[in-house]
């Protein structure tokens, strides 16, 4: 069943005035897709999930599940969560602490007034699928984090929902378990072929898990597409820095044209733009732009397009992140060993095909963004 959001808006009245959690949001999610809703905290991703679940009413716009309108502010249609055949997995799992695991999983079926033997069969089958069939007699408090998570997933899956909603389901797990569960979630989702909305702030999760990713910022859709498309063709500087770790370098530059070619000037260095970028460059006004280059696309050479001094290094184990002071700007470089010590002058080279161009200001009506909250660890020194 596909999901369609049309001109969806949600406003909250708070003590300090009206907050737009979601503004004129349009998105279509294909049948059976695992669709990631990605964004920093406060971007409206959880609101979107709550609207899809029916936990909140939209201020404007329409939500469609397949052909059925489940919520429309304009037409005064609103289906309760129980009438939408949605299932949800919460960040805290929200298991009912007073019920045994069996009763937790059976709860939605009992509410749907299924027959007792049918409930027993469904619960046991789902529990077996998730490997928790030996925990059915326990209370949630007696389970580990990972086990609770499985129970939450089982409770969501057991009624074979037409839409599955996941709200940061992995963020309460430790790193190792998260990797394993990620793979398993993907497998389960494909087996059940259920249309899934998956909310996360973790871009790695989004990249590895999603069929499609929608990136949100301040209640607006920034970009939607495959992880590949978002990584390789970010639409805005925000998308460019939010996705990928360490984040893409955005170097202020000037765009110039000659009779036949486009150039970018970084201070007094002239950088030729590749053929593919010319169309993009043509759409930008000449003058101030941002030149985007991913740290992994920069390499140290003897003679390159940029020169600078290493100010700081940080080992990631296999690779090293360098900070290079370069033409009055700090550039991140991701490179293999051997390590280069700080203070050394280096030259940086890159393929002109790896360059992205952005207008100097963000297209949204908001002031330029602070560095993304996630994707770059805080640094000292």
């Amino acid at each position: 069943m596909n999901i369609c959001f049309e001109q969806l808006s949600k406003q909250y009245k708070t003590g300090r005035g009206v907050v737009d959690a979601l503004r004129a949001f349009d998105l279509t999610i294909g049948d059976g897709q695992l669709f990631i809703i990605l964004g920093p905290s406060g971007c409206g991703k959880s609101t979107l999930l709550n609207l899809a679940a029916g936990l909140e009413e939209p201020s404007a716009g329409t939500i469609r599940f397949g052909e059925r309108v489940v919520a429309s502010a304009e037409e005064h249609i609103f289906l309760e969560p129980g009438e939408r055949n949605v299932a949800m997995v919460f960040q805290s799992y929200a298991l009912y602490p007073h019920m045994k695991v069996f009763d937790n999983i059976a709860f939605p079926l009992r509410n749907a007034r299924r027959k007792a033997h049918e409930i027993r069969l469904s619960v046991q089958r789902t529990a077996a699928m998730l490997g928790i069939d030996d925990l059915l007699a326990r209370k949630p408090a007696e389970l580990s984090g990972g086990q609770r998570q499985r129970v939450a997933i089982a409770r969501a899956m057991v009624r074979q929902p037409s839409v599955l909603l996941l709200d940061e389901p992995l963020s309460n797990l430790d790193a190792q378990l998260r990797m394993a569960t990620r793979a398993e979630l993907k497998r389960l989702q494909m087996e059940m072929a259920v249309t899934t909305l998956y909310v996360t702030h973790d871009q790695t999760e989004a990249m590895t898990l999603g069929d499609q990713v929608a990136l949100l910022k301040k209640g607006r859709l920034v970009q939607a597409g495959t992880p590949y498309a978002l990584y390789h063709h970010p639409a805005t500087p925000f998308a460019a820095t939010f996705i990928g770790s360490p984040p893409m370098n955005l170097i202020p530059a000037r765009l110039a044209t000659s009779a036949t070619e486009y150039y970018a000037w970084v201070n007094d260095r002239k950088i030729a733009l590749s053929a593919e970028l010319k169309a993009k460059a043509a759409s930008l006004p000449t003058g101030r732009i941002l030149l985007g280059i991913r740290p992994e696309h920069l390499r140290f050479t003897d003679q390159g397009q940029l020169e600078g001094v290493i100010t700081y290094t940080e080992s990631l184990g296999r690779e090293i992140v360098y900070r290079v002071a370069c033409a009055g700007h700090e550039v991140l470089v991701l490179a293999d060993h051997p390590a280069r010590e700080t203070g050394r002058s280096v030259a940086l080279a890159f393929d002109s095909a790896a360059v992205h161009l952005f207008p100097a200001t963000e297209p949204a009506d908001d002031p330029p963004d602070k560095p993304p909250l996630h994707g770059r660890p805080p640094r000292h020194g």
């Binding site: 009413e57 502010a73 037409e75 005064h76 249609i77 609103f78 309760e80 129980g82 009438e83």
Partner: protein
């Protein structure tokens, strides 16, 4: 699958096609959930209070025709020495018993806030006076103050304060003291428990830091405990004031308002007139008490809100 609110939303759609409903479905449901609460409080508290206020404007005595007299009852109250005696008693009682109870309560709370063996048991025991009905407490103290064989005179003798037994409930001053002590026994635990919660909320680190800064026990109490406890202290004072204003049960049982009306509170005065069938006059007296309680309640709510910000 379809539940009762679906037709309701369709109905709303038909009635007002363009406008958004002013309340969300949850809010509408919320008011339904609150309606029994509003219903009970309205029917059995608000309407009776309004009825009493209305009644205070009538001459309403059993077996006599009811007549609207406007403020006549209040004028009569103003001229009634027993009314002024009750006002004086209530004011004195609040002024003496409330600070006494809060001080005693603070002392108990300070003790119970320190770790010592059997602390849990002591804390449980202070709840006993609170749990006993005030009317029963009144009875117990009636026996305590018994002239011939009560515990109060026994104690006077034992502590060599007075060989002569005192007729506790026979003189104005000793009856007043008797009421204050009995009430303190009943209500100090409540003050202690509230203050104990306030003390427990003061971060332990502050005391550690003060010790590092070489502040002594008294200095720590003055500069950390008292200022940080102040909001809770004020709330306790106000709460106890409101309860002390309306005191009835203990006095009714212990002194019956005597001797000669010396310990008659406003509640007692109003009740006496109700019991005698004079509803208009009794209502006027309770309206006066009600207004005093409202002033104190507003103060309480104000302070409560102030604390939050």
């Amino acid at each position: 699958m379809t539940r009762d609110h679906r037709p309701a939303s369709d109905f709303r759609q038909a009635r007002q096609p363009a406008r958004r409903p002013p309340l969300t479905r949850d809010q509408v449901r919320g008011f339904w959930f609150l309606s029994p609460l509003f219903g009970f409080i309205g029917l059995f508290i608000l309407i009776p209070v309004l009825g009493t206020i209305a009644d205070s404007l009538f001459r309403d005595i059993v077996y006599l025709p009811v007549r609207f007299v406007f403020l006549e009852n209040f004028r009569a109250l103003w001229a009634d020495p027993s009314f002024w005696s009750a006002v004086r008693f209530s004011a004195l009682f609040v002024l003496v018993s409330v600070p006494l109870e809060v001080l005693l309560g603070l002392g108990i709370a300070l003790v119970l806030n320190e770790p010592f063996a059997l602390r849990g048991w002591v804390r449980a025991c202070i709840l006993i006076p609170w749990a006993i009905p005030a009317a029963v407490a009144g009875r117990i103290f009636q026996l305590v103050y018994n002239f011939s064989y009560g515990a109060a005179n026994y104690l006077l003798d034992l502590l060599s304060i007075s060989r002569e037994p005192l007729n506790w409930l026979g003189s104005d001053l000793s009856a007043f003291i008797a009421v204050v002590v009995a009430d303190a026994w009943q209500t100090t635990p409540f003050a202690a428990i509230i203050l104990l919660a306030g003390l427990a909320a003061i971060p332990e680190d502050l005391y550690g830091q003060a010790k590092v800064d070489q502040a002594g026990m008294v200095a720590r109490f003055r500069h950390i405990t008292l200022p940080l406890l102040k909001p809770v202290l004020i709330v306790t004072l106000l709460f106890r004031t409101i309860q002390a204003l309306r005191i009835f049960d203990i006095i009714f049982v212990l002194t019956g308002g005597g001797p000669g009306g010396a310990t008659e509170s406003l509640s007692m005065l109003a009740y006496r007139h109700f019991a005698a069938g004079d509803f208009g006059y009794g209502s006027a007296a309770s309206v006066v008490l009600f207004l005093m309680a409202v002033v104190a309640a507003i103060a309480y709510v104000r302070v409560g809100r102030f604390q939050e910000t």
